[in-house]
Amino acid sequence: MTSSPTPAPDSTTWIATQPRNRRRRGPLARFIRKPLGVAAAVLLLLGVVASFAPSLLTSIDPQAADFANVLSGPTAAHWLGTDSLGRDILSRIIYGTGPALLGVLIAVGVAALVAIPAGLAAAMFRPVDAVVTRLNDLVMSIPGIIVLLMVLALSGSMNWAMVAVGLLTAPGLVRVVRSSAATVTEEPYIAAARVFGVGKWKIAFRHVLPRIAGPILVNVSLIAANALVTAAGLNFLGLGLTPPTPSWGGLVADGAAVMNQQPWTLVPSGGVIAITVIAFVLLGDAIRDVTAEGWTAGRSKGASITRATTVPATSSDDAVIESADALLRVRDLSIAFPDADGSARSVVQSVSFDIGAGEAVGIVGESGCGKTITGLGVLGMLPGGARVVSGSIQLDGVELLELSPRERAAVRGKTIAFVSQEPMTALDPLFTVGYQISQAVRVHTGASRKRAAARTLELLEQVRIVDPKRVARSYPHEISGGMAQRVSIAIALAGAPRLLIADEPTTALDVTVQAEIVALLRTLQEETGLAVMLISHDLGVVSALCERAVVMYAGQAVERAPVGELMSTPLHPYSAGLLSANPHFATPGSRLQTIPGSVPPPDKWPVSCHFADRCALATEACRVGPIPLVAVAPGRASRCVRVDALQTEGVAR
């Protein structure tokens, strides 16, 4: 939607280009499908009727005293019983509805009128923002109840008090409007509308406001609920609407006076307040959901795979497996995510590789190829409902997929450890570096606090940190990214693991630090016999550390080879592409060639060669069926039907 090359003549065109694809039904039709929302709406409509024409709903005068039936429970004549003067409670509730809803309307109206323009202005005009924020803080610190009491004493009118309630609750709404509007204004089409000179206020009210209607409505429904309860509380205190005028709060007070004789009187009076509040909240939620569905494609959260899974039939990986006594042995690993409709969407398809003890193996590919998911699968920590649909993961001959979650957790940190990409978010910002390392030490070795502290310093030295004592005392925000990555590695080493899964460990760092971290991993590998599974998009990093590499593309292993051979003679067009796109290996003088296009999302993966759309060598044969991964040379396998062409001609670099 952002790539439209022709400038839109007017902003409405931009609006029309937003994603609306899932908008199958009108808003009303969607609303009707929400039973709770409909029930709430019906109830509030009933309240409106009660406000304007209470006599339509009851024939009993709210002031008529029936002294023969004082304090009765529910009877045929008095459905909700009577109060201490024998007045009909139902009738008093119905006659009390008008003032109650009017009060809510006033409070909500005032809050909205003040807060929506203020919040929008704060989001769109920087200088206004400071003023609005200051004012907001001020109003929030004013003791609201004192103001209310004074306004009531001053005017004696409930309506003025509700104006005050509106003003006092406006700051919350201002915040909601401001923060959600700020998010929306960053969206491309709003920015575009700005570029085309659409006035800021016009953008605010025509484009931003409809988009943030959801959060606003939810907050407004909370303001309504709050206003109703506040008004009832004031009336309960005998302020504002005073007896004998029927009011909901006053009814509770009446009930309180006689609750020892007839506790029932409390039930209908409190009940009507509670039910009305619930109606406000549910209506707000329902309308929010309806508007939200209008804007976003309905993606079901927390979905799980319910339908029978049909993972595309890729041939099982029968190519040569390298080492016989592998530490980690992954076979035909397939991982799938649940789709919105409950079917499985496979993101990793039949991936196999081995990692020998002390060996470093690289998993290479662009992002979106399934490398990280593969790593998390080995760790047994697949996110968001993803699961292994088939295959095997063996560690030292033990099938990990057959272990219980508890047993798998015991493997983590002890045998397999993990280092992630972004060192600055990899550490808990609230604990010192030393604490985080020694926590890991104590968990894995059961060492005492003192022993763990000593071991912590050793580990910091082992990852070549110069001043371990000082660093141990530091918090993560006080150390550099490179140092944070060393600390992450130290934590991973705390349990003396045999395999380290390093997910893009250098990507977030600058070049010199990258080299240092790679060197560190290499030393650790030599010193401790640690095996490394290095996940990276960068063939340069992989070649600096690994003996062998698995190239992954769009969920599949497309090539497996010793790193040296992979670099000199790639036997898959994707590997060749990665190579010529990497500044380290480009032929001097020639231009860097990026692979055209990008990795397709999992739902666009064909059954045939996944790379076909980006491949310069693609022919008809590539698009007929699944391409098997086959052995093409000793210790090498490739998933390409045109390996021969590659071997003889090489890919045009």
């Binding site: 103001v147 509770v252 450890a417 925000h477």
Partner: protein, 313 residues
Amino acid sequence: MLILILKRVLISIPLLFVVSVLVFVLQSFIPGDAAQQIAGPQASPEMVEKLREALGLNLPVWEQYARWLGEVLHGSLGTSLLNGQPVIDALNQRLPTTLSLVIGSTVIATIVGVVLGVISSRGKGAAARFIDVLSIAGLAVPGFWLALLLITVFSVQLGIFPATGYVAFADSPSEWLRSLALPVAALSLTGVTAIAKQTREAMLDVQASDFIRNLRANGIPESAIVFRHALRSSAVRIVTISGLLFIGALGGSVVIEQVFGLPGLGTLAVSATTSKDLPMIQGIAVYFTLIVIVVNLATDIAYGWINPKVRTS
């Protein structure tokens, strides 16, 4: 950190000023005054006028305010128009009741809310729905109504707790607890639900963060991840809500004190407003604002205690 606190304190001085001006201005609009109230309906206009002069109510608003401000600078908040009692004495006498109630309900709400929130963040669908339902109930059940319900059940029917009245802590700690149990319970329900919901959401957000994944990937036990790391990260949000709850409970205490007949600032506020006892109202407004300022300050200090980044900056 010290600078941060100092800054906060400096910002709050104009706030007190604004609130006191606001009270004066609003008050000056109220028809009738305390003189009329004190003299009674039978009093002759001359008598009322005399009283008015004696009380300084005949002066223009700004002059009344200037006088009041002068008194404040001398460490006094004036005297009650009704009975001549120094306002400060009246307020200090009632402050412990209100503070016991409001602090008690905030603490209870925070503890119970965090426990419920953590439990529900660990659970799946049903636990989440339970919290959603609970939080709607927290909004829907008015505190004063819940108070009456609690009195009916626990005082009238079971006779476990007294229905009304307050016993000072100094007189009898156990009776103090008993006299506060029901008011605190009535005042904390909304808070419990709000904290539970926020805790749940904060915990779920933190669970998605990188460092939690790394802790798990490196074998740190789930209990340490939840209670040490995730909960501490969520604490910033929980503290914010607790602070807001405290301020909300301050407002709610007015009604709750009335229901339970507690001699706190809330009951005083109601009676002072109905009798238009201006110095008293002014004093209560100042106290309430001061409490809000202190709570905000405490919240800031708590942020610093939780987050080293705030502490060192």
